[in-house]
């Protein structure tokens, strides 16, 4: 897993995470708009544009967590597998990924939470009601001027909070294990 420039790449990934998303959405929006003009494929105001946008937030941090996690796996494990006759790909799939599973789960939960709770990007990239995601939809469609539909807003909030709650309840231990592993070894 060690290759030329790996340390520089790790630092680079971390630095990208330090750039605030509020700085990123303007150039991103312009990029997608320009892409639409060039190719005729409209991405703005489509829910699936968020599939492309969210990784700009989640990938750097998840990579950072996983770098720490993989670094905590002793190199002898890798060497034992090589001597046992495993190829690079077999070492990855049969040793590293199973061993790093807590870290992978932690990264997955993190990515899910960040994406699920995202407000700014969907607000900017989607506008029509049928394309809105839940957090933005609650605010933009259930508050009309100074009229707050409290009952519906609260129902929406509860529905929005349910999936992360359920996931955390079952996978919290992994989440903490993953975060601490990443933290101490980073």
């Amino acid at each position: 897993m060690r290759f030329w420039g790996s340390a520089t790449l790790a630092t680079g990934v971390f630095l990208t995470y330090l750039i605030p998303d509020t700085l990123l959405f303007l150039p991103l929006f312009k990029m997608f708009a320009a892409f639409g003009d060039l190719t005729g494929i409209q991405l703005i105001n489509r829910w699936y544009v968020l599939l492309i946008v969210y990784p700009t937030l989640t990938v750097p941090f998840c990579t950072w967590i996983m770098i720490g996690y993989f670094a905590s796996i002793p190199k002898e494990l890798d060497e034992a597998a090589i001597i046992d006759g495993a190829s690079w790909f077999q070492t990855l799939t049969r040793i590293f990924i199973p061993v790093a599973m807590p870290g992978l789960i932690a990264a997955t939960i993190f990515a899910f939470t960040v994406s699920w709770a995202q407000f700014l990007y969907p607000l900017v990239f989607t506008t029509s009601t049928d394309q809105l995601v839940l957090p933005v939809g609650i605010i933009t469609t259930l508050i009309k001027g100074d009229v707050f539909n409290w009952g519906q807003i609260m129902t929406g909030a509860l529905l929005g909070a349910a999936p992360p709650l359920i996931i955390y309840a079952f996978l919290m231990d992994y989440y903490i294990a993953g975060l601490t592993a990443g933290a101490t070894k980073g």
């Binding site: 002898e76 494990l77 060497e79 034992a80 090589i82 001597i83 495993a86 061993v99």
Partner: protein, 366 residues
């Protein structure tokens, strides 16, 4: 099974030369131990044989074939690591069979080999457990099992007992020796513990600063060390060194330690050292067991002197004594009933029949 040959093997990391041109022939079935202090290049040498480190120059041959550029998986070797390196998500059986499964061996044969190795190592009842449910000694057995089932040409051990407590280490040492007696696979074993080296090896390779200091059977190294490093490294407690020179008194060769202390040499030693210049700076090397309590009847080559002991260490079957000679601490071994006590005087005897004479400048044993 195969022999292993190293020809002028060099390993350089940037400016640092970790291994400086090693020549080593390891015969088929032989158990060779590489021993030396930290940073002497022994682990690097082992890793080069395994293929985990590239060699900068020279040749490594396994079974007569040059394997310099052969990847580890094609060298048909098995390695046991210091920290066991068991796959934590697999059971003992899965750990042991991993290499065979990768090579698509038939299931029945895998089972036979795993069962056989498990029986040999006495881990049959652990076969379905995960590594974290095992003790250190059990883990090391599994790591050995993983090596045995593959039936490789060469076993490589990288300080496998360093993580175990003292008692378990002795026990596992015997286990390793028994396993080698059964499977007879060529073995290269790295350790910094000279006791492990002495007890396990057919031949010991003593390394220092990336070079081989001496190769020999444990007895050869102990009784006929070639250099001061080997003389001081092999044996516990270590050999004592005292500055000295030779002189002739009334036609008899003497070894002079101080202005007051000079001992006549026994005839066989005197003959051996006849050609040594009389004013040359030398070191007298004496193992602790050759500094003992004085006996009632003098024997040829045994000379007596009085010492005031600094510290005594009763070991049960013997007592280690320490006294100061010319600012250096000297260790001897006496009978527990010899009356040695901290700060007390004791009449001691040196056995010059078993002395070593070294050149103080070059460190070579004369």
């Amino acid at each position: 099974m195969a022999d292993v040959t190293l020809r002028k093997v060099i390993k350089r990391y940037d400016d640092v030369e970790a291994v400086r041109g090693i020549d080593l022939d390891i015969a088929d079935h032989e158990f060779v131990v590489l021993v030396g202090p930290s940073g002497c290049g022994k682990s690097t040498t082992l890793r080069m044989i395994a293929g985990l480190e590239d060699i900068t120059d020279g040749d490594i041959m396994i079974g007569g074939d040059i394997v310099n550029d052969v990847p580890p998986k094609d060298r048909d070797i098995a390695m046991v690591f210091q920290n066991y390196a068991l796959y934590p998500h697999m059971t003992v059986a899965e750990n042991m069979s991993f290499g065979l499964r990768l090579k698509h061996y038939p299931k029945a044969e895998i089972k036979t080999r795993v069962d056989e190795a498990a029986r040999m190592l006495d881990i049959v009842e652990l076969i379905d457990r995960k590594p974290k449910q095992l003790s250190g000694g059990q883990r090391q057995r599994v790591a050995m099992g993983r090596a045995i089932v593959r039936n490789p040409k060469v076993f490589l051990f990288d300080e496998p007992l360093s993580n175990l407590d003292a008692k378990l280490r002795v026990q596992m040492r015997i286990e390793i020796k028994k396993v080698h007696q059964k499977v007879r696979t060529t073995t290269v074993y790295v350790t910094h513990d000279q006791v492990e080296a002495m007890t396990l090896a057919d031949r010991v390779v003593v390394m220092n600063h990336g070079r081989i200091e001496q190769i020999g059977t444990p007895n050869e190294l102990y009784h006929n060390p070639a250099t001061r490093f080997v003389a001081g490294f092999i044996g516990s407690p270590a050999m004592n060194f005292m500055p000295c020179r030779l002189e002739d008194v009334a036609g008899k060769m003497h070894i002079r330690l101080t202005d007051r202390i000079a001992f006549p040499l026994p005839p066989n030693r005197a003959a051996r050292y006849q050609s040594v210049a009389r004013n040359e700076k030398l070191l007298l090397g004496l193992r602790p067991e050759h500094i003992t309590e004085a006996k009632a009847h003098p024997e040829l080559g045994i000379e007596t002197f009085d010492a005031v002991l600094d510290v005594t260490e009763p070991m049960g079957m013997e007592t280690l004594i320490y006294f100061t000679h010319e600012g250096a601490e000297i260790c001897g071994r006496v009978n527990p009933n010899a009356g040695a006590r901290d700060g007390g005087p004791l009449r001691l005897a040196v056995d010059l029949n078993n002395m070593h004479l070294l050149n103080e400048v070059t460190g070579a044993v004369i």
